[in-house]
Symmetry: none
Subunit: 228 residues, 2 copies
């Protein structure tokens, strides 16, 4: 959904002013004036001065939640690893804005707090999802917390690296690498019980050590494709 032109002008004005003279030195009046609207209008579009820097965060969270709900992944950890990709994708999507925001957030404690708080919402979402999934198994809340925090941490680590490098490469490979770490780490925690239904389909495949991930993927894709 394309944001309204007014809201777009407001964020542009805000980011511009924040970079020119700093966050604290910029008043909401300044932003509204540059955007050519009144102060009232600013607060109609954004509930606070901070929010102008983090628009569509709620929407993103909702998207992640939807993906999680629709997930048919085999394990909880894979489901949330999959979902966290959406978050990274969102940052990559308009890298320009992400980078400017990153530099800003690094300098302004209030914004940093805001960002941390929003990250905590993802973590909470993941925690609840995994908690439901594992319900009944031993130490479910603890394992849920650990898995959620690890996936979020992996994402953040990759994102930070990418932002620090000025968004100069494709961050999904490092993300996969990091999530791979997490999944392997938690596999022994997750599979304490066997598959939940007796009717699972099982894939067993053996490859030479020299096979690259792509080789593996191709072979499995070919196999799955034949069974549709």
């Amino acid at each position: 959904m394309p944001r309204s032109p007014t809201s777009q002008r407001l964020t542009d004005a805000a980011i511009g002013l924040f970079n020119e003279r700093g966050y604290d030195e910029t008043t909401v009046d300044d932003i509204a004036a540059r955007a050519g609207v009144s102060r009232s209008t600013f607060f109609r579009y954004y509930r606070s001065k901070e929010e102008v820097i983090f628009p569509d965060h709620d929407a993103l969270l909702a998207k992640v939640e939807a993906r999680l709900r629709a997930s048919t992944a085999g394990t909880a950890i894979v489901a949330i690893c999959d979902a966290v990709r959406i978050v990274l994708a969102h940052y990559v999507e308009d890298a320009e804005v992400s980078l400017r925001r990153y530099r800003l957030v690094g300098r302004v404690p209030a914004l940093r707090h805001r960002e941390i708080a929003s990250v905590a919402r993802y973590q909470r979402l993941f925690r609840e999802y995994v908690g439901d999934w594992l319900a009944g198994t031993p130490d479910a809340p603890l394992r849920a917390e650990l898995m959620a925090s690890s996936v979020v941490a992996a994402h953040n680590q990759v994102l930070r690296g990418w932002l620090r490098a000025g968004g100069s490469y494709d961050p999904f490979e490092p993300l996969d690498h990091a999530l791979q770490y997490v999944i392997r780490t938690f596999r022994h925690l997750e599979n304490m019980e066997g598959p939940r239904e007796g009717e699972d389909q099982v894939v067993v495949a053996a490859f030479p050590r020299s096979a690259s991930p792509d080789d593996v993927m191709d072979a499995i894709r070919a196999h799955l494709g034949s069974r549709q």
Copy 2:
């Protein structure tokens, strides 16, 4: 480090008023009046209205940092597991205040954000410590981030449980149990070499029958990551 009587009266007045009529409904003037001092004096002791709820947080962080510096633990993960005990100990020390604050924080978003932000500082401290420790080893930043976030997550999970239960038991046993989990989990991470040369790489995956080929592919891709 006994806090000054004025500062003590201020926090008492604040917590009392917050509980009686709510956080937003209490002004700094109200707090100052009940404590028998002026508004100016309030802001001399606390930089903000939020801070009155989280006194000595900086001191605690410093204590944790000192413990970390003095640590002689054999591995980074054990060192930060050890350090995080100080944090729990601080909450347990005056359980009364911790519990009242917990109930308050649960109801007031502004305070929740504040708390989350302060937790993030521990995590950052741990991350940097582990990062230094692991410097030079493969994926050091990633593993540092994961270890730090896991230890913090374990602590938070135990703390939340203890607070929800009204502080009715000794939380150090569950903490040890949780940290044991973390340590055991990350031992796996240390031994993460791939299959040995000459042996096949084997993929075994189980999926619900409802899983589409794409689901299977996604899951396997996630497991394989970008490992070459």
